[in-house]
């Protein structure tokens, strides 16, 4: 499969050449496939949208700490000026705590926003005058195309960011 092979190569480049990263690309390619599949399913009517729930996306985003050996040294970037080091530690701690949240909320908010627009336009369709019905249908079709693109982009963004965060921690 060309898409998955391309993704595998890209994640391999992002993760680097460390021996410990062998096989880890499959995890992130699977994550991408899962989110892509769920995002596409929700475009069909009356299908339950899993990725629009924070519980699901937070579960996918939370396990960011795989290797606990370098937790403390990753809090201070190399070459930080001495007076700034304590403040950088606090800022990096807050950044690490917030990261799973931002990852989960980004996916949820994008999926919910698109779904909401589609639902609102669809529910108000019968109220439109006949002359404006054509515009509503065209708008709905364009929104559907946009949401298909968002489904792919958001799953890609999620997987890439998880890869980058995983590389930073390990």
């Amino acid at each position: 499969n060309t898409l998955l092979t391309e993704l595998h190569n890209e994640f391999k480049t992002l993760l680097g050449e460390k021996r410990a990263n062998n096989g880890r690309t499959f995890l992130f390619v699977s994550l991408f496939s899962l989110i892509l599949f769920n995002n596409f399913l929700r475009l069909f009517p009356y299908v339950f949208t899993r990725t629009s729930y924070l519980t699901i996306t937070l579960t996918l985003a939370l396990p960011l700490i795989n290797n606990t050996n370098h937790i403390f040294e990753n809090l201070v970037p190399q070459g930080t000026p001495s007076p700034l080091m304590p403040f950088i530690v606090c800022i990096e701690t807050i950044r690490n705590i917030i990261r799973p949240g931002t990852l989960a909320v980004r996916l949820t908010a994008n999926i919910i926003a698109g779904h909401l627009l589609l639902t609102l336009l669809g529910n108000n369709g019968p109220r439109f005058a006949q002359s404006r019905l054509g515009i509503a249908i065209i708008a709905q079709i364009l929104l559907l195309i946009l949401e298909s693109a968002v489904a792919v982009i958001q799953s890609y963004v999620f997987a890439v960011l998880r890869t980058l965060y995983s590389r930073e921690v390990n």
Partner: protein, 56 residues
Amino acid sequence: MAGDSHVDESQFKGISKYFNSTTSTGRANVAKATYATIGLLVLFFSLKPKKKPTTN
């Protein structure tokens, strides 16, 4: 994270031998010391006896 295999540790003297932003142990020690300081401050302010208002 970038390793410190090419860093010459003999260049550090005194306290900067243990607390610096170049070696991995130095960076880890800075983070641990910061957490310990914050923990001690929190402990100090939570255990500090509160001043009772004097009534005349």
